[in-house]
Symmetry: C2
């Protein structure tokens, strides 16, 4: 049995139930679904699209294994002919999407699937699961990056991320959004991103004195020594570092690279430690800070001029603690050539295949977006690009470096008020008149069909 994260059973049961019902009616014409965020969290002025690479990997590998079909059969819910039909299920459709790293806003489709109904439906749960989390983290990490004002940023959040995949993918998403790297080893291996790591308090505690612990570590990693100095008394430890640094430099040519502070009022602690290091001739030793950091804490430290050279940001970014989910959805907008939409209270959607057009001013700054029909001639650059056709990639995948560059360019073109941490008036996203008209026609058609169906019952 393969790993559960790769199983076709990693889906809501209702997807398979719907497929059974579609099978019983031989309903499998072309369906078009779009993924979008209904509303931004109050704490966000923009979002950063991420997770598409993992969606593509999921679609490429999609298939039911024999043992999975046998298990489905054992539940007694599904008929044999239907389960048999799942043997051949592969993703053969088209995918259009905003490239990863694109800034987007509420109501804008960032991904569109055009595929036979059963394929487009089955993938819903995992597709949302993958796009939602990385977009959540990239959007938060971009704010932390803005607040860091060029200081080094490292993802420290594996331990309190919500499980293994969150640990792995938050390393990737935060790196795309500007983080230098991660402390999570497996992320470095799988995504070839820089990995960082020093020591825990337990390392200090396991030795009889900090002096001994520091010396042990410096000898084990003479080229890359960062010492954690807040286990007992931070200033005393900083003085210890000075003594050790002087001795190691003179006797062995070893240079201590940095110290880390993980508790207390970090700005004040960093000032005192900086003074002790400088007074001891250790001006070249960096100060790295961690502990309960988010974009607001980092902003307060960097704007206040705290002498901190880098930040480890973990839990609050990886759990996206101020806004731990997005109000996102993957909705049917067309089936069998007919536009479709949902009209539930507070959750109505726009029908039809759509495109997002972005306008820029003369300085290259983002000016406003229009959500329009796919082939409408709206002004601006089209954001959704062809990614898959017939289940196969249209172009080679972008590298992480390219994605990082895209986020940087996008942030540079984002108006300053939106880039700021404080809530700003919303960016202008309008819906084209043609789309309004399509919604009206879709409702008229639906109401006529529903009335006809009722009349049918009555007879």
């Amino acid at each position: 049995m393969r790993h559960y994260a790769d199983s076709a059973l990693l889906t809501d049961l209702y997807e398979i139930a719907m497929l059974q019902a579609y099978f019983s009616r031989a309903m499998n014409q072309t369906a078009v679904f779009e993924f979008f965020v209904r509303q931004l969290p109050a704490q966000r002025n923009y979002l950063v699209a991420a997770g598409l690479a993992q969606v593509l990997a999921f679609l490429a590998a999609l298939r039911f294994e024999e043992n999975e079909l046998a298990w489905l059969g054992s539940t007694g819910r599904f008929d044999a002919a239907f389960l048999d039909s799942l043997h051949d299920l592969r993703f053969t459709g088209a995918l259009d999407a905003m490239p990863e790293g694109t800034i987007f806003f509420a109501g804008e489709p960032l991904l569109r699937i055009t595929a036979p109904l059963r394929e487009a439906q089955l993938i819903e749960s995992r597709l949302i699961n993958l796009l939602h989390y990385q977009t959540l983290v990239a959007s938060k990490a971009a704010r932390v990056w803005t607040a860091a004002r060029g200081k080094r940023l490292v993802d420290f959040g594996m331990r309190r991320a919500h499980g293994a995949e969150a640990a792995l993918l938050s390393a990737r998403a935060s790196h795309i959004a500007g983080f230098d790297g991660s402390a999570t080893t497996i992320a470095a291996r799988l995504f070839e991103l820089p990995v960082f790591g020093t020591m825990a308090h337990s390392f200090i505690q396991a030795h009889d004195s900090e002096a001994e612990a520091f010396a042990t570590f410096a000898h084990a990693f003479p080229d890359n020594t960062t010492l954690l100095i807040d286990t007992y008394d931070t200033e005393a430890a900083a003085a210890e570092v000075v003594r050790l640094a002087q001795r190691l430099r003179a006797q062995e040519g070893i240079h201590i690279k940095a110290v880390r502070i993980d508790s207390g009022e970090l700005g004040e602690q960093a000032r005192r430690v900086r003074a002790i290091l400088d007074a001891g001739g250790c001006g070249e030793i960096d100060i790295f800070a961690s502990g309960n950091l988010d974009e607001h804490a980092v902003d307060a430290l960097t704007s206040g001029g705290a002498p901190i050279d880098g930040f480890g940001v973990g839990t609050r970014m990886n759990t996206c603690s101020d806004a731990p989910y997005l109000d996102c959805a993957y909705k049917l907008v067309e089936y069998a050539g007919q536009p479709r939409r949902k009209r539930s209270a507070g959750k109505s959607t726009w029908p039809g295949r759509k495109q997002v057009f972005r306008r820029f001013d003369a300085h290259g700054m983002m000016e406003g977006d229009t959500v329009a029909l796919e082939h409408e001639a709206a002004p601006g650059a089209a954001l959704l690009e062809p990614v898959l056709r017939g289940g196969a990639p249209v172009q080679p995948a972008a590298s992480l470096a390219q994605l990082r560059a895209r986020v940087q360019a996008q942030l540079a073109s984002l108006p300053a008020a939106l880039r700021a941490l404080e809530p700003a008036p919303p960016y202008a996203v309008t819906v084209s008149p043609s789309l309004h008209e399509l919604a009206r026609q879709t409702d008229l058609r639906h109401d006529a069909l529903a009335a006809a169906a009722r009349a049918n019952w009555a007879t």
Copy 2:
């Protein structure tokens, strides 16, 4: 290469860096670490321990594969002799823990590892990652269960859970805490818990009319038909269900089981739908509600007498949105026979191997806990039990049914104010005088050793 979630590289790099430094000094005596939560979130009166089963599976499988060691070597950070020593690394130690499903509070160790230093250290990141998330979800889900007052509860949260593992493990943790089951198919397969699933709005939209969609689904699942009725107009759909139910009952002997409402003001909608169903002779059709639910929303609906028979609770539970992380830690409390502790500002810890003793009143209600030394004769029942010795299980694993029963029994013995959703005065947790004394002696010893070390430098 095995799946990343099973890799020994799913750890913070600093764990491996510390192991290299320990190896260089041949430091590998017995270490004792304890896992605890420093502080409860403001929104919680108690927590429910969960995730131990996954920790045990992780420890049982812990080993470095050849390709993982080769990759570590390729980073240029580690020496060959050290990497070679990792070949044999297995978890050979002892584990004591509160059984899953135990209610616990801030400052109480819920798990203790006693093992050679390198083993006890290496496992830190993943052990926290596994215990933290399930404890987070079980603690939230227990509140939802309390609010549901016996109504059916189903985990609906795969799509917005933070990745695959969060989706899987939140199904397990919420089931332990009282949920009837999950919509996540793979969770049903792996944990043998009940799985539920009906249809999405897209199913309704893909048909030309609701009437047709409802009939298709009822014929596909004649024994288990739940119809989603809020895609267009909820009351009109309820009337449609009545017409269909009457016809199916009369002509084919099919009984529609339930309807689901997923938007709008759920209580009011449920009342109107109930009235329509009852007036149409469909009193046996249940109403199931979903959409942005958490314990407060469920409580308002059940206490207000809304005619809802069950709830689908997703995003806010699986992301634990009101408190998406716990301030938890895994800290060294003893090494080489000597108690150890950390004295960082706001993050100091208690030294030594500890036990938690719980006192009950004459009615079996929880009265207060004492955190004491392991072998102290404190009054009450000891909560930490032996789980592993020499890396092997001491007793067979509990079934999910047993864990569910434990949570129910624990909730029944929890004072009503703590069981309530509103913040209550904290439960009494005291620290024994012997533990205070051990902390004092540990500090004295440490300060003497540090002074000696400084004197050493001076010479």
